[in-house]
């Protein structure tokens, strides 16, 4: 493994770079003079990103299939949320279904 100084420098790069990305997004958003349709576009952008993150983390671990247990847990949670069940029930159901399937040997 690399020496500590190199690792710490790289970590500083990651931390500062990540902060600057968060900060610059906010700055950019505040600076744009926004028409209503642009605002709608930006909101859809956030929804699209979050939806893509959700489906990616539901279906993949790194670049391979995450397994049926996780996918089933998330699918059950989605159906419950669609039926407007309280969020805590949605969360607990996702974990419980996934854990139970793994306990039964389904991965």
């Amino acid at each position: 493994m690399s020496d500590t100084l190199t690792i710490v420098s790289a970590l500083a790069l990651l931390a500062i770079g990540t902060y600057l990305m968060r900060f610059s997004g906010v700055k950019l958003g505040k600076r744009l003079a926004l028409s209503e349709s642009t605002q709608q576009l930006l909101n859809d952008g956030a929804t699209t990103l979050l939806f893509a993150v959700a489906l990616s983390t539901a279906l993949f671990s790194a670049d391979h299939f995450a397994g049926y247990a996780r996918v089933s847990g998330v699918a059950v949670a989605f159906l419950l949320a669609y039926k407007k069940v309280p969020l805590i029930v949605v969360i607990i159901a996702a974990a419980a279904v996934t854990a139970l399937l793994r306990l039964l040997g389904i991965h």
């Binding site: 990651l14 930006l42 859809d44 699209t48 939806f51 539901a58």
Partner: protein, 221 residues
């Protein structure tokens, strides 16, 4: 200030944020424990948790270095994973606050704080939910990491109790209301499909950014 924030968040949302923070805590413990197993000094994952505060990129960072990769390459890979915070920042520009609190408000930006924030109805509730979830994660993630470096081996892996399903589940649950809008739904579906198709052969972080091309999709006239 925290008490005021808490009073502005609906009770169902509050409980959900608490559960998400608990799940983040357990994942943090496994992260701290993994960093120890890789042979990193105790302080390293804790410092990373405090100052990067973005789990997926941190796992990737320590994983690449432990595998013998160049630390700067690991940092660049982590930055690519975190690049979605730029469009997130644009979306939550009204929620992070101004001046000094705005500097902290930027740091506590993550998938969960963004989705909880954007999913609320009034501006006050949006800001409060963003901050409650953001602060909760900002406390629990480093503390859990520290705990994991000390006692990590004693706890079951997050997967055993199904916690890996919790994060996509909460994101999905909270975007459903926005997806009831027809145009939004078409864009989100097009974007997510593009992200999923490109995942197997693009570096982590890029597929999610590509999903933004879904914004070009429109309703057929």
């Amino acid at each position: 200030m925290l008490r005021e924030i808490i009073s502005l968040v609906e009770s169902d949302i509050k409980k959900a944020i608490l559960l998400v923070c608990l799940a983040v805590g357990v994942v943090a413990i496994s992260y701290g424990s993994l960093a120890m197993a890789y042979g990193f000094p105790l302080w390293l994952p804790v410092i990373a948790s405090l100052f990067v505060l973005a789990g997926a990129s941190e796992f990737m960072f320590i994983g690449i270095i432990a595998g013998g990769g160049n630390p700067f390459a690991a940092a660049m890979a982590g930055l690519l994973v975190n690049a979605r915070h730029i469009p997130f920042g644009v979306a939550v520009r009204e929620l992070v606050g101004n001046k000094l609190s705005g500097l902290i408000g930027c740091h506590i930006m993550n998938d969960e704080s963004v989705v909880f924030g954007l999913a609320q109805k009034t501006p006050e509730a949006r800001r409060a939910a963003y901050w409650l979830c953001g602060i909760g994660v900002a406390i629990v993630w480093p503390l859990g990491t520290l705990l994991g470096t000390v006692v990590g081996g004693l706890l079951p892996a997050p997967e055993v109790i199904g916690l890996d399903a919790v994060f996509p589940a909460i994101l999905l649950a909270l975007v459903i209301p926005a997806l009831r809008n027809h145009t939004t739904r078409i864009r989100a579906l097009a974007g997510a499909t593009l992200a999923l198709v490109t995942t197997p052969f693009t570096p982590a972080g890029l597929p999610v950014l590509l999903s933004l091309l879904g914004l070009l999709a429109r309703k057929k006239k």
